[in-house]
């Protein structure tokens, strides 16, 4: 083995250890836990069983919650993409100080803690909060809207916080497109709109793909925002899982829910990647 190769392996060790201790081990523990029998006076029992999987997959309530979680995440992802694309475009044309300022604005949702940010939303949308006050002041509504504890609010808050994860990779991809390509398209007779759909959009896909995957995965797994802004009214998988794990101390069943959610998410991500593999292969430099 050469010296360089030895160093490479050596430098990789911390990352591998970190992954092993904080990802592989807990995941393996989770899988094992999901096959444990339920305990009577303890979080789990001594034997092994697959009954929890049968219960999750057979019970309409859990399947409906899983579906709601995935659909909510899909809506968040789509809205996030629609809102972020123009932002990313604008950012990609900015240079120097202006670009820096825009980066800071776009990253701003990440700069406040999750509790502070959600508390901010609560204040804004409260019955007697500024949102209702302004809408009533402008005469759009006559009675205050109840926005708190709705799925719409949860979606809006998630879109807000995940925008940077969508904007930054798309901005990056747009910056990598040779500006002469749009000019070539225009000179060949394409309108600006055709140029966007035929050239810019497909070539920005190397940014769209990671953005979509990131936001989708983060949305499915989001716990704090749905818990705080959705409360008991918006039931999503993470809320159920936490309730099982820390509320009723049913660790095996909670683990099963978590594993099912992860597998469902992973399958969707893999399917999306496979469906878009051809385009990605073409547009990769």
């Amino acid at each position: 083995m050469t010296d360089a190769r030895k160093w490479q392996l050596l430098l990789g060790i911390p990352a591998v250890l970190l992954l092993f201790v904080f990802l592989i081990m807990p995941l393996a523990g989770m899988v094992e836990m999901s096959f444990r029998t339920a305990g009577s006076n303890a979080p789990y029992g001594d034997g092994f069983t697959a009954v929890h999987y049968a219960r999750v997959l057979g019970d309409g309530f859990y399947m409906a919650t899983l579906l709601r979680s995935l659909v909510t995440a899909a809506i968040v992802t789509l809205l996030c993409l629609i809102v972020s694309y123009p932002l990313a475009w604008h950012l990609s044309t900015a240079r120097g100080g202006k670009a820096l300022f825009l980066y800071a604005c776009i990253a701003s949702p990440l700069m406040t803690g999750v509790l502070v940010r959600n508390f901010g939303w609560m204040i804004v949308v409260a019955i007697d909060g500024p949102l209702n006050a302004s809408l009533m002041g402008l005469g759009f509504i006559s009675r205050p809207l109840r926005v708190m504890f709705t799925q719409g609010l949860v979606i809006m808050a998630l879109v807000h916080v995940f925008i940077p994860f969508m904007v930054l990779p798309i901005n990056n991809a747009l910056r990598n497109i040779n500006p002469a390509l749009s000019e070539a398209s225009l000179s060949l007779g394409a309108s600006r709109l055709s140029t966007f759909f035929r050239v810019t959009l497909p070539l920005s896909f190397p940014g769209i793909q990671p953005g979509v995957i990131l936001v989708f995965v983060l949305s499915v797994a989001a716990y704090v925002t749905p818990a705080l802004l959705g409360g008991q009214m918006v039931n999503l998988m993470p809320t159920l899982i936490i309730r099982e794990l820390t509320g009723t101390f049913a660790w095996p069943f909670g683990s099963t829910l978590a594993i099912v959610m992860s597998i469902a998410t992973l399958s969707i991500v893999v399917a999306f990647s496979l469906l878009t593999a051809r385009l990605m292969e073409r547009v990769r430099a």
Partner: protein, 356 residues
């Protein structure tokens, strides 16, 4: 068939004046080169014509109709870029056929037209490849076919050979000229390579910091340049300071290096003007037997280098100044030798002295 006129184009970027009154015109079917060093405004001119930039003032017309306010997608011009600018996610055929999508051409005609364009640039059998699977020369051929398939009124090429290696450059250069002449398309061709410009152009515009220094045929810009800058940029040149004694109809009696000579030159010169005499190396010949009666100048060989097909010599004149010339390969020349120089005076050229 399109006659193109560019009139007094100006363009400023903040404090930088990129174009300062550029005027050019092309008869139908002509290839016009924009020649000049980097930063002189060639690309800016071309981009204004293409419609990617709008000039601050001036006019561009096609067949006497102004197009400055026409957006680039309505100008019907084909553009070939230095970096090819092929759409990386489309195959060769899709790239070439792209322009047809936006024209009222029946779908059934697309295939034959694409094939025809690819045959014209001598690229067949690669229609289903992606651009990244092609060599630079092949990519530039695709770019050329893509620009030509729409039968543009004007073909614009911005340093199309700059990214190719020397051998390919020659090949693609002739291909461009051939295809342009075959299709009868008017073309503007940007380059900083004088040999390239002279070889394929009907006319050359030599540009100098945002202005057109001279707009003429390749022969004229080489043999009858308007100023030293043009002469320098178009090839090897010797200059001698001269004074005009007498002028009549483009012929001048001048005093140069202690001699009185009759030479042709730029018509605007008048008696009493200070001027520069251009002597191209090929209009000079060495008299090896020292000074012969034919010799106009005498001097000492200060440098001699064997180049294969010729020898490069520099001669320091007794009256001051240095002349570069190409001597035949088989005469023996050594530094320090005293030699005479004969001049083909009908190929000398007198130009006004232009302060830089």
């Amino acid at each position: 068939m399109a006659k193109v006129k560019v009139k007094s184009l100006t363009k400023r970027y903040g404090a930088v004046t990129a174009l300062d009154g550029v005027t050019l015109d092309a008869e139908s079917g002509e290839l016009i080169s924009l020649l000049g060093p980097s930063g002189c405004g060639k690309s800016t001119t071309l981009r204004c014509v293409a419609g990617f930039l709008s000039p601050d003032s001036g006019d561009i017309s096609v067949n006497d109709q102004s197009i400055v306010s026409t957006p680039s997608n309505r100008r019907d011009f084909g553009v070939v870029f230095q970096n090819y600018a092929l759409f990386p996610h489309m195959t060769v055929a899709q790239n070439v056929g792209y322009g047809l999508l936006f024209r009222k051409i029946p779908k059934s005609e697309h295939g034959p037209r694409i094939e025809n364009a690819l045959r014209m640039v001598r690229l067949t059998g690669l229609a289903d490849r992606l651009p990244k699977a092609l060599s630079g020369g092949q990519q530039q051929r695709v770019a050329l076919a893509r620009a030509l398939v729409i039968e543009p009124r004007l073909l614009l090429l911005d340093e199309p050979l700059a990214n190719l290696d020397a051998r390919l450059r020659d090949e693609v250069r002739w291909l461009i000229r051939e295809v342009q002449q075959q299709s009868g398309t008017t073309a503007f061709y940007v380059t900083h390579d004088q040999a390239e410009a002279m070889a394929i152009s009907d006319k050359v515009a030599v540009m100098k910091s945002g202005k057109v220094a001279q707009f003429a045929t390749p022969r004229d810009i080489y043999q009858r340049p308007s100023e030293r800058y043009v002469a320098d940029f178009t090839g090897e040149a010797n200059f001698l300071a001269a004074r005009v004694l007498d002028a009549s109809a483009g012929r001048f009696r001048i005093e140069v290096a202690g001699q009185t000579l009759d030479v042709p030159g730029v018509a605007s010169l008048k008696a009493g003007d200070t001027a520069e005499l251009l002597l191209r190396p090929e209009s000079l010949s060495l008299d090896m037997d020292g000074a012969s009666p034919r010799s106009l100048f005498t001097g000492v060989v200060s440098k001699a280098a064997f180049l294969g097909a010729s020898q490069h010599c520099e001669i320091s004149l007794g009256t001051g100044g240095v002349l570069k010339l190409a001597a035949p390969p088989n005469t023996s020349i050594a530094a320090g030798e005293q030699v005479g120089i004969s001049v083909a005076l009908e190929h000398a050229w007198l130009m006004p002295e232009v302060k830089p």
